[in-house]
Amino acid sequence: MELKSRIPSGPIQDKWDKARFDMKLVNPANKRKHSIIVVGSGLAGGSAAATLGELGYKVSCFCFQDSPRRAHSIAAQGGINAAKNYQNDGDSIYRLFYDTVKGGDFRAREANVYRLAQISVQIIDQCVAQGVPFAREYGGTLANRSFGGAQVSRTFYARGQTGQQLLLGAYQALERQVNAGSVTMYPRTEMLDLIVIEGKVRGIVTRNLVTGDIGIHLADAVILGTGGYGNVFYLSTNAKGSNATAIWRAHKRGALFANPCFTQIHPTCIPVSGDYQSKLTLMSESLRNDGRIWVPLKKGDKRPPNQIPEQERDYYLERRYPSFGNLVPRDVASRNAKYVCDEGRGVGETALGVYLDFSDAIRRLGRKTIEERYGNLFDMYQRITDEDPYQVPMRIYPAIHYTMGGLWVDYNLMSTVPGLFVIGEANFSDHGANRLGASALMQGLSDGYFIVPYTVGDYLANNKFPSIDESDPEVRNAVACVQQTIQKLLSINGKRTVDSFHRELGKIVWDYCGMSRNAQGLEHAIERIRELRDEYWQNVKVPGSGADLNQSLEKAGRVADFFELAELMCIDARERNESAGGHFREEYQTADGEAQRDDDHYSYVAAWGYRGYGNYPELSKEPLEFEYVHPAQRSYK
């Protein structure tokens, strides 16, 4: 399939202006005649629904949680980047653009990233006006900090709860539209299929999670802002409910899935403590600004950290990367933690952990300053581990956190199915093979507030929408598919619970398609995933009925989709014979163990098309061109 990225011509700094000018507008009186569906109510979905409502469209917004305010954007801690250069430290739109393209290991589209950097500035203005209580200096101006792999201070934050405050801003804007009657909110409602009629998206099929009712919602455009697929791994920093069902079912209806193997492992999470573990807790990466990461020099050194003298410690990031030290990008920090643990120098009971030590910072800045900066994170750590990080170094280990891959979209954020737009983490667009800290919030809000409201309008103005109703055969077909899947899951009545399958699947993907991968392991994983999936459809046990609140049934449908997605991730990882960002193939590394890209052969977006279960998916390639930032080996030494 030929992928049309629709990147506007002209110099990079003018592309978005040009695109906006070239877009057709919808007459204000006609806007309310167009209905738009937004699935997901996080930073991307919530901000898109609110803005489209403000513009006068008839919007329906769906979320599986009990309220749109619960979307997992709420858990983002650290902050949001913007090229404001308020600190006068040399930042600019171009520098944010440059950092993001480089940080993404040259696997993102330049034009998209430049637009993101441009819009970052407006996002901060918008959020301040909404009442987001960003941190302030005594003079009343906005405060900034440097964050994860950046050498300028461009991160805006609201204590350790930036995601919460930004999401509440979007949520309140959304509720304002609900009150105004322009947005209808459907909480506790899950999208289970996409309705495509005559080559265009025309609606979705949903299930109300309380009553079990299957609903049909027709519209002229559908926007998915349903987040990432990190929960394929079972243990991740995602919320328990985060899932890939909306994007996967859209994929099965024709939307290509891009770069599924680009997943991000976050270096600073609380290590796993037992088999019962249901999720992993992230400790904000801002901790790396003041904490120093180390392990004992000797293998199997079981002494308590305070008894290990300075000269017997290995501050391995500072040693290997003198110029960035503890602030190297996430993929580099995670991989190095794995290396030292693989060498047998990991700490804690499981030996899968490294120390993050604040004693130097406390000595230098005083306990009070550290409390002000990280108090809530330290409290959270202590609540979970029962250890006091002011006294004992934290133990941290990498965990899956973000997925750069997602549905393929063009410059207008439209997928390969006309009328289906994909925004936020659910699309693949801006982060390449690795995402920099504090840029997920930026992308979600950029897509939702400032991009998709324009591009959807252009789509609506350029297309005709013949009237359709629920008797259309495609509608019937989608509903029948949904009902069959539910019936099938309920009728198997096997011996194993959904969670037990999910846990096993997650372990396979983590072991073979996690922090490092190799061809042999990936092939093995593909085989194991298929076997397990076959067993799933014969031996899963889903209690209860489809006619009321049934959390097992919800999970069962999502895990069924995770199986197929997991296989695609491994296929994609197997096909990409290079290392790039979060995708580290052991066969492709430099002499000193750094990721080695192969720009001659793999400078493209891998977009996969669904061809039925069990059939090898079809690969389409979108070549990447770098006119402004020239690909080079990333160096943080």
Partner: protein, 275 residues
Amino acid sequence: MRVTLKIWRQTNRADKGRFVKYQVGDVNPDMSILECLDVLNEQLIERDEEPVAFEHDCREGICGSCGFMINGVAHGPLPATTVCQLTMRHFKDGAELLLEPWRARAFPIIKDLTVDRRSFDRIIAAGGYISVSTGSAPDGNAIPVPKEAADRAMDAAACIGCGACVAACPNASPALFTGAKIAHLGTLPQGAPERDRRAIHMVAQMTAEGFGGCTNIGECTGVCPKEIPLEVIARMNHDFIWGSWRERDNVVTTMRPFTEWSTGSKFQINEQETD
């Protein structure tokens, strides 16, 4: 360690509901009480019994989904902690824990420990925002905000909307929740223009939902996982009284509290069969 969980089981709103006792062995002190319920649910499914329905999502204490009463205390015995972060090491080996859903007329029960909190969304929709449409904002530094004001606003804005305040209040009043939003937005210069309207609309909606009134008991702040201070209620009362005077010529309308669920066009199974 092992614990006995006495859990409120109720199939749906029409069901009367009852407590059922479960023994859970093999409890690891490091697991959260939600993970303890996960373990119980796995066992129930294997025994062909219905698992316990309870709300949860982020499991990091920030989304506000989770929450139930443990031995009569909202979110259990540990201050400033939601149940998802309440580890079992805070209970004695062999303890018996009574788990109940939030109880309030404006939070109808859906199933077991799960309740319907859409009334909170409607309180926000009534006025818990600053009316600024996308694209119309001035530069972020155009209006300086004193650090103290920003910090105080943040203290109130930390509310996660879990509903523990309502559950703990003998009157089932959401004054702490509503007050938190009024204090957050009203403390900032950006929120000043709508301060009066916001207070009177949100308070009116709160009343329309069938919540009780605040009588300054303070249980709410005691159980609040984010330790929202009681002073936000004083702020709400202040803004409400002034607002009622200044807006005396304006009519306040509220949204209809509703408890049914909308599905869109509902798909009729028998309709398909006659085709």
